[in-house]
Symmetry: C2
């Protein structure tokens, strides 16, 4: 395919994407294929000679679309939203066109420097403490990771190395193994599975601490765990606090937890994971829920979840970038350059992979074309829709709301057993008109209704509730 | 931006990308900006209200392009190539348009299933052992990772968990720390820095073993290291063998190393990292260099380096996917689905991040539109260009070739000191007409000439050599 053909095919693809997104409401959000469907539709091996674009293009509808789960359908209410917007797609197109690999400053200065500026822009939008900004004058700064899982892992590994280095300085005879056997990290029992996974990768013990009845990890729980663990000779070094948990959007109490962790008291690195909820803090009315973040060493949220940026774009800030880059910095000759260690970061030291795409372009396009007010509008609209759904649930005596609704997620259930709620979940998803996912907290199984797609309107929320009521009627009236 | 505006702006962006790539040869490959250049060109914070596309678009040329390193310039000869092609860009556009997050099968069956099929297609193109294929009937299969760094880390962590589980079964009293203190991994002294970095993350000792004079790690070196380490009570568990090292494209001797590692003898997981060179094995004439891969537990190469797939797309195969997914599998209720554990993998267990893009689309487009022969042609052209450059170097008595040329990389140097070669490297890059990067092996500093851009022609190779000769004349004639 030469440039001339690309000009034509690129236009076709732009139209295909626009058509798809304009008509997405006409598709059922969850496909009906069974595992293995696709293998039957394509050859067993790659063609020897190139095929034409016409042949390839017609297979998008024949092979791919029947098996796509439509995350941007207004009837999709599962998990959390994944963002997407036309400006972000344009940014990714430019990123692909440039096709640079910005692992050090010199490998594409614009790639590093736009990211530096965008992370400062974003930090200011969230009113993060100055220490997290490149322009804050200290060692702080932000970096785009692929996912919150990676951000948590980077934070945990940085904390681990920091603590190991400290302990080895005081106890040079201790081996790494002796140290990791004593290291202990904490999170709330409602933290995302990726937090526990990070501890398995990092080979440290992660203790899941109980939350209060609002799903919040409180200071007293952390403090008593620390005291108990220290009495047993363990070394607490890390807390992953969550603001907006996956199951219920619960929020750990940063104002209580932070001071307990801060270095001068217990030497514990507090990482704040606000993967979904973080975007809401560009609205002043939500920002108080992030108070206490000033006590954290690192903070992460995903613009690709709720800030109109197409996946992947996970924003991580740290107060002391030296503790991150210093954790695993290696400098072979083939990666060195004249300007390293100067005014701009070499982001390869801030992440697990070496290579990196020019992801800040899509962030730049989104922030400029929506503006702060445009992004705030979307957040407020989604939260308002969640409250409207909450009202519908409350208006039906058969149901109960599981946790207070704060952001764009409503946790609800049929009053009664877990089993009946499991059956209802299955009925809803088997029905295919809407899609949602359940969760379970403190042995209570419930349904999660997340306002996901940008296009979701009041009518979609009402439609979803009509479907749920209809299937509930059928469930409750059917013989056991 | 609504769909109608996207149709127009998307076309503009398609043309912008086509224009950029058509005229890339007119730009110097390395920009001349200094660190901090970009911050001066944009505001300190995000705009309150959205801006128009016209305002954003004009800043691409004003703000971004002056700081871009042009990896697809035919005068770019640094590092290794990063691939890009129009079919791959179209695939990414579709991936962004669909915008699904395929972490489990149900979150977009097409996303998982196309990847399963494409990994089998690719495996067949490279003539990998049946055990690596999903269709091989065993536990094998492939997955797209972001980078080779992640692939190496996933392999090392899987090997670590496998060995820890085994040791704990036999010695239930051993702590994790006692085990990791004894674990030892190996690589060649010329392995990529990301291999050592993986060991730091994984908290295991990584020993860099000496290579022979062709840059190859030999079986005898590994065997004596294993024997010595076992005598000291250490537990060897992992070897990362490299096929096509970053510095010189050296190739470890898999046929010697493999049998030493295989489970029934020493319980060592051999991972083969062929990040760059792997693509060449779609050509039968290069495939013998991969012989011995059948002894490995995992194999990785980057289609985003040399197979026309735009970054990121790193292909990892494993013989026993249970050892990978089993290493860190966690199954919270909110990620469960009815079809898990069945015919199709839940790829979230195969990688570090949770979320994942629909990357197999670009691979599918590339394999179909180039066909195997089209991709072979590009490989052969690049290797031929490298040999032509080698001939030019050999024709000038002042220079020497450092290592035999096998793929698309030529390692060369001025006969003489490291210092004069460092000076020459700096002169070449300061001159800006071409860009290349150096390396250092066994205390010998040398220059690396990599054939990178798809567009590179004989005339570009000759041009590069003319520039190098000219700058050498000037260097050698200037007063010390």
């Amino acid at each position: 395919m030469d440039a001339q053909e690309f000009r034509a095919r690129g236009r076709e693809m732009v139209d295909y994407v626009a058509d798809y997104l304009e008509t997405i409401g006409t598709r059922t959000p969850l496909p009906s294929v069974l595992p293995g469907y696709l293998r039957e539709l394509i050859p067993d091996e790659a063609p020897l000679n190139g095929e034409s674009w016409e042949e390839v293009k017609k297979d998008i509808d024949r092979v791919i679309m029947p098996g796509v789960t439509h995350w941007h359908s207004p009837q999709f209410h599962a998990y959390f939203p994944t963002s997407s917007s036309y400006p972000a797609i344009l940014g990714d197109m430019l990123s692909d066109g440039i096709g640079c690999i910005g692992f050090t400053w010199v490998t594409s200065p614009a790639c590093t420097e736009l990211e530096v500026s965008m992370m400062d822009w974003l930090a200011k939008m969230l009113n993060l403490p100055q220490e997290f900004l490149f322009s804050g004058g200290g060692k702080g700064g932000g970096v785009i990771q692929g996912t919150a899982s990676e951000a948590t892992l980077v934070a945990l590994l940085s904390a681990r190395t920091t603590m190991i280095n400290k302990l080895k300085k005081d106890n040079p005879q201790m081996t790494q193994g002796q140290i990791v056997d004593k290291l202990v990290a904490y999170c709330s029992e409602e933290a995302h599975s990726s937090v526990v996974r990070a501890s398995l990768i990092g080979m440290v013990q992660m203790k899941s601490l109980p939350t209060d009845d609002k799903g919040s990890l409180r200071g007293s729980e952390l403090e008593s765990a620390i005291i108990k663990d220290k009495e047993q000779g363990l070394i607490p070094f890390f807390l992953c606090a969550t603001v907006g948990t996956t199951s219920t959007c619960g929020t750990d109490n940063l104002l209580e937890l932070g001071p307990i962790c801060e270095c001068n008291k217990h030497d514990i690195w507090m990482h704040v994971d606000a993967a979904y909820a973080g975007s809401a803090f560009i609205c002043p009315e939500f920002r108080p829920l992030l108070d206490g973040v000033e006590h954290s060493m690192s903070f992460n949220f995903n613009p690709h979840k709720w800030l109109q940026v197409t996946f992947d774009c996970s924003a991580l800030w740290v107060k002391d970038s030296g503790l991150v880059s210093g954790a695993f910095e290696l400098n072979p000759v083939y990666l060195n350059h004249d300007n390293q260690g100067q005014a701009m970061p070499d982001y390869r030291h801030w992440q697990i992979p070496l290579g990196r795409r020019f992801r800040s372009l899509k962030l730049w396009f989104v922030l400029r074309m929506f503006g702060v007010t445009g992004l705030q509008e979307q957040i407020r609209k989604d939260v308002s829709l969640a409250h409207q759904f909450e009202d519908l649930v409350k208006s039906d005596d058969r149901f109960e709301i599981v946790r207070p609704v704060t952001f764009g997620l409503v946790c609800f259930r049929l009053k009664g057993t877990n089993e009946i709620n499991e059956t209802l979940t299955k009925k809803i998803n088997d029905d295919r008109r809407i899609h949602l996912t359940p969760s379970k907290v403190k042995d209570t199984f419930f349904l999660r209704f997340a306002v996901c797609a940008t296009k979701t309107q009041v009518s979609d929320v009402k439609f979803a509730w009509t479907v749920i009521q209809e299937l509930t009627d059928s469930l409750l009236s059917s013989p056991k």
